[in-house]
Symmetry: D2
Subunit: 397 residues, 4 copies
């Protein structure tokens, strides 16, 4: 006999009315029916907070005025009622303070990226995680796509031979004009105090960078970057590119820009080895173009039961091929794997992951966060320098 | 002050372990966090039924051994606990019997398509609905896509001028080989007793047909069809095509086939008027190609805030452009509109839709079901005949 | 030692200033440097005729006032000077009269399609060819594309197994508005006296039909058609579609329309057998999508030395893959193969092809012309009938 | 009355049997029927030379054993017989020596790119041209595509506003394995003595660079590059990338690689300004994607009479839209414009272009050649340096 499922109970900080990413997280966590949102501190504005909670059908006394109040009150609840995981979808500068407080209060954390606004801050969080039994997941959503796992599988399995080149690009156009023409999304993202030291690189450059390191299974070791701010009055970079080199001897180019007028979220990665190449695009996420050297090229397609897919890809599909899944499903995959790890951890008790930094299988963790911070630091340093190559420090220990 | 949301309570008949479409419905109903699955009769197999219920976290005493038991027990519950909507995802031959029983027991119904296995049966259901206050939704999932609404909007608003041509096609390949190579999906779908008098036309031809009538806002009045069965031993059609004519004077072609080796779900519609044409494909659902006569062609893109979209399309998007939404989101749109109508209806009390046949705004209803039955009948009659044109009877009254 | 190449000498009837297709033929015949245009009767308008000849750099006394004058004068020239091949690019109703006269005058003929304006007329030409040693080529240009030969090769070689379905479509939009808005191209094409009994079917339907029969290597044996005329005052069909059946048991759909607003020349063919499917589009002519059953799909690419191509495809490429060749190259392939056959024939002397009806290897011949006429007749007959299926008569003997 | 056309008489150095690019030039020059190939020195191998001449149908005494012999003999012919233009398709190191000798002998020159193997050498050629009345054309073939002119037109006309970003890439895969697996094409291209100091940058990087400067109408002023050689034993770069900056304040990335396994000739350029962006790809050359800020994106299509095209684009099309033209037509456009300029020049007499360096309208000239050399020098210098930015010297005077 199968035991009745208990949904994993989550709370949310941030994500009030008008906040795009909070709603995205809520769709994603709900999709597979394994997670229940039980509480939140959605907005510093009391009315917004309450309206959001009501619209979500929360218990009226679990809409908290602040994340501090949330942590305190939830700690006081019985174990089988209280929140197990705190989802953080605030502006960037609050990610680490809340993460640390939540971990120290005994909760798992699932955080919108970036993990932090500096490498130092991310390292502090890492130390905190080391000394706790909390799980920590980072919403590098694109790493939830089935075909990104397929790409990783093909590279690690040798289908492309020795990797020589990697090109990654993330052109967007939504910041082509100035912030006044946008909503509050744009304004905090381009405010250094809330967003961290980088605009475009922190916002989307880290996605491109994380995708490279994930698919290649290699760290980027050095880069040569040029960042720019195109729109008058904007205080952070809105555009940049870099030449990159990896520990395994591959080289390539990383492009991230928010002033490519008319582009949506055209994240794309191409990887070439001495035996073949692959290409994947976020806007058509269910295909990988695979070019084996000297043969006609192939198109691998996402879906349950599709030919040529690895288990990691198939496990992330909910439909057979040809009924497209997309971005919300990619994020739902992160939530689904995180929830599975939370269930196992909370069943096991506190000692479950002594040395693993709270990494949930299938979900980017704090190490991805550190990599992102190291990337941003290196990009900023390189862009301001007359020296060509700058190291991206290893974040291994 | 906003009242706290109460989730709409739904139950499910069918959809036990191994049944593809039940899981799809559960993902879709969960996505927007407005609906709660509270009970089910998932399988005639007791173990399967119980395991499914447990995996979903249902109350143990609300996993019923049969749909009859489900209806009886739920009726007996207090109004604010009992199921409001019954979702039907059984084989086709049970759709009407269960729908009628559920309506008569005072529940709303949301049914996987086809609505029925004959026009007569669908008409009986329609009569039942006329005499009730129940809402009835039919899962013509593709009609939940934002860009299908955009297409409908462009046609009805005159962007294409007078419509001359419509081409719709739905090539699949999964029945290219015989049933033994497949799972139970294929076997009941090709069993006349469970599936109705048609295989391919009932399964996917109705999707193509429904898309034509929805986008054009016109009924198909006559057709000339050829159905075939290509795989030895198969008892129903697995392939067919028809010339079609509409009440507004347009003509065109409808293709539906399950033996197009290698094709996934390549549903596509093209419509041409004297001022321009449009094209939409299910497998890249977030774009419409729009060809205004004498101008460069355009591509309209789904997403919140995207230029050129009508409200009906925008309202069905959860993300800005470039983060693809797909099939589950399309079905979630049907559930979302249905849940909204259910809330309004149940708030109003019983007399809310005297003459509207239980139609929920934004959701295909029983009339779509009748159209599908009329289509299948006409296809079968035409295919067996030496006469060229056969009427598709009007199902208006 | 290699003998010095002598270019094949050709003359042209039709193709004066303002005539689209004449210029296309001249580009195509020139491309490979094997053919010389030595004379012409380009226009009944003396000024046009002379200007065309001058612009082409012809000998001043080889611009003839009429095709009759051309044939007579060229016959009188020495064998090593006179035209060997007459190219016919007049309106359709002159194709057969000129072809017969040219053959009887001892010249080879390369004719723009259609071969004739009736099956009877085409049969007369066939009889003439039987009793002569002339070669006859028909400009079914699309059959010059390398990847059309690749498609034919894959079907005939069994890569797709037994063929079940074929879908061919040729949507155009240029006749969406009435003729006054167009040039003389549109006006004669829609004049029954010059164009033959069909507009759209003769103009582009025959291309679609010819492509089906070529790729399948099977004749279409019956069809069920609906033709229409959408633009007021137009005297011939501008649109149509048919269900079709082939001698080998395949079935499918043929669509040809000139009122699909915004479409260019979107000729496309898809073929499915029990082992796989292929797809080819004229507007991206250098790729074939190949879907082997149960495997990831492949894309075969045109070009010298490309993997997976048959000799017939490779032989029709002038560049390695990735430097696109197009429509003019496709027609140049017909000219190139025709010129090769002419050289061989004229070297052999008169008795070279007693029984082969003047067929040049690699070039559609009079039989393709007859098939086209049989197709048009069947389409017209079917469209006007209440009977469902009409035979397309076999044109074999 | 129109004067009879005299074809422009051209000769060719290089391009014997087995040489890819010579055949491409011959197809291209023949396409429009305005040019006659009258002589050649195709190969240092006598047999090859004679066979090539014979296969082309040349006069037997105009197949010369060397380019020196060709120049001498052609000079001695009467003015209305002798070659007017010398086409140079030898390995790179001979381009300048032959160009200078030809110009000094009174002939116009049309040269395969690169113009030279060093900036110094290119400058010498420029000096020679300054003191002569010869026309000089450089086969930057991609600049013959209609839609490249359309892109240039849109940028210069302000459709994109102020240009911010340009991304150009040219991934190829044919040198993924070592030279032994290839024909003689690969071997001389990777021999420094014949190819110049760069492999990939000279071969295809210059194409990407030339495309940027042409479309933007701006010079690239500085760059930061990384070149690499991936295949063991190869003596020149086979891969590289650079960050680039232009005189107008735009920045971007240039990628050129010959080790992108499976890629054909995927040259692509994207340009973004503050009002919109465009994208063009060589492998689908008949479309431009145009993204006006805040509007649905558009696709402009090549062809005579297509909506939205500038005259420069339309003038380079031979067919209406939808009958694809390709690479040979692009090169034919260069030949066609060059031939027109030659006719005008030779009609005018010697003094026709005192200060214009032999530039033929519509055809890249020696200045493009200098730019290419400056680019290669800067790439090599940058790649070997620890300094980030290197100037690309202006080649204006």
């Amino acid at each position: 006999m199968v035991a009745k499922m208990n949904k994993v109970r989550m709370g949310m900080v941030g994500g009030g009315e008008g906040a795009f990413i909070g709603a995205v997280h809520r769709h994603a966590l709900a999709l597979d029916g394994q997670i229940e949102l039980v509480c939140g501190a959605f907005s510093r504005d009391e009315g917004n907070n309450q309206r959001t909670a009501d619209a979500l059908g929360l218990d009226e006394n679990r809409a908290y005025p602040s994340w501090e109040a949330l942590l305190k009150a939830e700690q006081a609840l019985p174990e089988d009622e209280r929140m197990q995981v705190l989802i953080i979808v605030t502006p960037n500068h609050l990610h680490v303070p809340i993460s640390i407080a939540a971990v120290e209060a005994g909760f798992h954390v699932f955080c919108e990226k970036p993990a932090a606004i500096s490498l130092e801050e991310a390292s502090r969080l890492k130390s905190t995680l080391k000394n706790s039994s909390a799980l920590y997941g980072l919403a590098h959503t694109y790493l939830g796509y089935p075909m990104v796992w397929q790409a990783q599988h093909m590279v690690s399995g040798g289908a492309l031979g020795t990797i020589r080149k990697v090109y990654v690009e993330y052109p967007q156009g939504w910041l082509s004009a100035n912030e006044e023409s946008h909503n509050k999304q744009a304004s905090w993202r381009t405010d250094p105090a809330q967003s961290g030291g980088s605009g475009c690189m922190g916002d989307i450059g880290t996605h491109a960078f994380g995708l490279v390191e994930f698919v290649l299974g290699q760290q980027v070791t050095s880069l040569c970057a040029e960042l720019q701010t195109h729109v008058e009055g904007r205080r952070l970079d809105d555009d940049g590119a870099a030449l990159i080199r990896t520990e395994g001897g591959a080289s390539g180019v990383l492009i991230a820009s928010q002033v490519c007028a008319g582009e949506e979220n055209a994240l794309k990665i191409r990887v070439y080895g001495d035996k073949g190449g692959i290409e994947w695009q976020q806007m058509e996420p269910n295909s990988i173009i695979y070019r084996p050297l000297g043969e006609p090229f192939q198109v691998l397609r996402a879906g349950m039961g599709q030919p040529g897919l690895c288990d990691e890809a198939t496990d992330r599909c909910r439909t057979p091929g040809g009924h497209p899944e997309g971005y919300l499903e990619a994020m739902a995959n992160l939530y689904s794997y995180f929830a599975k790890a939370v269930k196992a951890a909370d069943a096991d008790g506190a000692s479950h992951h002594a040395n693993a930094l709270g990494k949930a299988a299938g979900v980017p963790g704090i190490d991805s966060g550190l990599r992102g911070m190291a990337f941003i630091d290196a990009m900023l340093a390189s862009s301001g320098s007359e020296i060509k190559w700058h190291d991206v420090p290893s974040t291994n220990e």
